[in-house]
């Protein structure tokens, strides 16, 4: 289902052995053939082909276009692209063309990558299934009756379906990792501040982070290394230099201390997912890692704090959509009436729910009980992780409590949908890096992801563990017979 890895494409293009144009044409043809997935909001075919030709000319002239030379990359549609619509899959940004490129887009261009289009998502990244898009849902390439996960379902489906080699997405509570798991690809959330968010449309600013999606750990690391680094245009950007990851990818896990998070190994996690997690832990142990169980209570109760913090920040960030400066305006005789009419028509139900939840959590009389408490819980999350990392180098957990669920299965019950994020939100609250790696399949032959978490700025050891899991997978019994699965109590 998937084509050559990014590193192979870039090496061939740099060596003049294949053209960037052919790589981009292949991607565009796959996008055209895969339209029923609903993965793309916009395909920038003309610009992509022109750019590929420019890269080919540069190679012919003896120049090096960079480490992603000629590699097709798709962008989640909340990453700003100058002159190309950026919708966040929302009607309220209808027709908006950003007047600038996000820093990650500048970095991709400087590395020789070719942007092929903008991918579908849950509106403003709020959701876990990509069903909250104003433009219709994205479907899972493994089974079109199932969701790809979310909110970055378009990017995940595009990579898993072979429509693009790489994709960028954003992760506020699991929006890169959960769809990566459900679509059987690699998805990684960097340390908070490691990748510039200049030009990322804000959802929850203390949690949002841009990260890579790819078919292999090496490709995810390659894309990460291109986008990571300090950016003076993002004041939350971390100044520490980014290390070289090539050693990490080749490194072994002998003596590595791996803690399996006990709170994410029982109630609420389906049996087929747990079986794959156990297999991953066993594989690491057989490769010499010291694997043990560790209790991280915050890994679960963090979710309740997340429900308050993320909507509170969203309610503030989304106040800017008022029909004045960009996007939709619904006409009304007075300014406030116009604001109300515009926002009421422009936002979908899930965005309205989160805005109201956040407004409530911040409102007079409730602030201390809800938002104030949630911020204290966030401190406990950080403390729990710090205690775990005294004993372990990395933590291992499922990425999603279930395999991909069916379209429509959770749309009527927002709380059930929110519980999809139970395994992933703690890393966002702590600001730590985490990656989902495909590790075989579960019920109905659907992909299962295993999550590796590491302390802040621990991308090196995180990638080392992820690469080891990828190498070890073929040696494990990677499928789980559907008949043998006893369902747990997942939502």
């Amino acid at each position: 289902m998937t084509a050559a890895p990014a590193a192979a494409i870039a090496a061939a293009v740099r060596a003049g052995e294949r053209s960037a144009s052919s790589a981009v044409q292949e991607s565009l043809a796959a996008i055209a053939a895969g339209g029923e997935l609903g993965a793309f909001n916009a395909v920038t075919a003309e610009a992509a082909l022109a750019r590929a030709e420019a890269i080919d000319s540069a190679v012919a002239a003896g120049e090096d276009p960079g480490p992603l030379a000629g590699v097709p990359v798709a962008l989640k549609d909340n990453i700003c692209t100058r002159g190309t619509p950026t919708t966040c899959s929302s009607r309220i940004l209808d027709g908006w063309e950003p007047p600038y490129d996000a820093t990650v887009v500048d970095l991709l261009n400087a590395a020789g990558a070719v942007v092929v289009g903008k991918t579908n998502m849950d509106e403003f990244a709020m959701g876990s299934s990509t069903e909250n898009s104003a433009f219709g849902p994205t479907r899972n390439p493994h089974d079109p009756a199932r969701v790809p996960g979310g909110s970055s379902g378009g990017s995940a489906a595009a990579v898993a379906g072979g429509l693009t080699t790489l994709a960028l997405a954003s992760d506020t509570g699991g929006s890169i990792r959960q769809p990566a798991a459900l679509c059987g690809i690699v998805g990684m959330k960097p340390t908070y501040g490691r990748v510039s968010r200049y030009g990322l449309v804000a959802f929850a600013s203390s949690l949002d982070q841009i990260g890579p999606m790819a078919c292999t750990v090496a490709d995810a690391a390659l894309l990460y290394s291109v986008i990571a680094g300090h950016d003076p245009r993002d004041s939350t950007s971390i100044p520490e230099p980014v290390g070289d990851l090539n050693g990490a990818l080749a490194g072994d896990v002998d003596g590595l201390r791996v803690g399996v998070v006990s709170e994410l190994c029982g109630e609420g996690i389906d049996a087929d997912v747990l079986a794959r997690l156990e297999s991953a832990a066993g594989a690491l142990a057989s490769a010499g890692a010291e694997v043990g169980e560790v209790s991280v209570p915050a890994a679960v109760f963090g979710l309740s704090a997340y429900f308050l913090i993320a909507p509170a920040e969203a309610s503030s960030n989304l106040a800017r959509y008022d029909g004045v400066r960009y996007g939709l305006r619904v006409a009304a005789p007075g300014a406030t009436d116009m604001n109300v009419a515009t926002r009421t028509a422009g936002f979908g139900d899930e965005v309205k729910r989160r805005i109201m939840l956040g407004t409530f959590a911040l409102s007079a009389g409730y602030y201390d009980a809800y938002y104030g408490k949630a911020l204290k819980v966030r401190t406990l999350v950080t403390r729990d992780f710090a205690a775990a990392y005294e004993r372990f180098d990395v933590l291992l957990a499922p990425t999603s409590p279930t395999v991909a669920f069916r379209l429509g299965e959770r749309t009527a019950n927002p709380l059930a949908m929110y519980l999809s994020d139970v395994c992933t939100v703690a890393s966002n609250l702590a600001g730590h890096p985490a990656i989902s790696v495909p590790f075989g399949s579960g019920a109905d032959g659907l992909p299962v992801g295993v999550q590796v978490m590491a302390p802040a700025l621990g991308e090196d050891v995180m990638f080392r563990t992820a690469a080891a899991l990828e190498r070890l997978l073929p040696a494990t019994a990677s499928t789980h017979s559907a008949g043998a699965v006893t369902k747990g109590t997942a939502p």
């Binding site: 501040g193 203390s206 400066r325 005789p333 007075g334 729910r353 805005i355 204290k376 019950n413």
Partner: protein, 100 residues
């Protein structure tokens, strides 16, 4: 526990957030938000005495750039994205005479 948030509360926050809800929406959102708040109330069981708040995962101080003029966005390009402009500015419907 339906009394974590009432229909009246939801109508109030909708107004604060500049959203208009129909009767059916008000009913549905009240139930759904109460469900989420019930789950979020799990934190009430935690002992949070003396625990400081964390508002940001990676504490950094004030970040200031050098005080050197740099070009901003092109005004015409920015204004071209607005629903309505006049004389180089954003145009909005009248504000005078509206309820606060």
């Amino acid at each position: 526990m339906a009394d974590r948030i009432s229909r009246h509360d939801v109508a109030h926050v909708a107004w604060l957030a500049r959203l208009e809800l129909g009767d059916e929406e008000l009913e549905r959102f009240t139930t759904q938000l109460a469900d989420v708040l019930d789950y979020a109330a799990e934190v009430e069981a935690l002992n949070l005495d003396g625990v400081p708040a964390t508002s940001h995962p990676y504490p950094v101080g004030n970040v200031l750039r050098d005080d050197v003029p740099e070009p901003g966005l092109d005004r015409a390009e920015v204004l071209a994205q607005a629903p309505e402009t006049e004389a180089g500015q954003f145009r909005v419907p009248p504000v005078r005479g509206e309820a606060p």
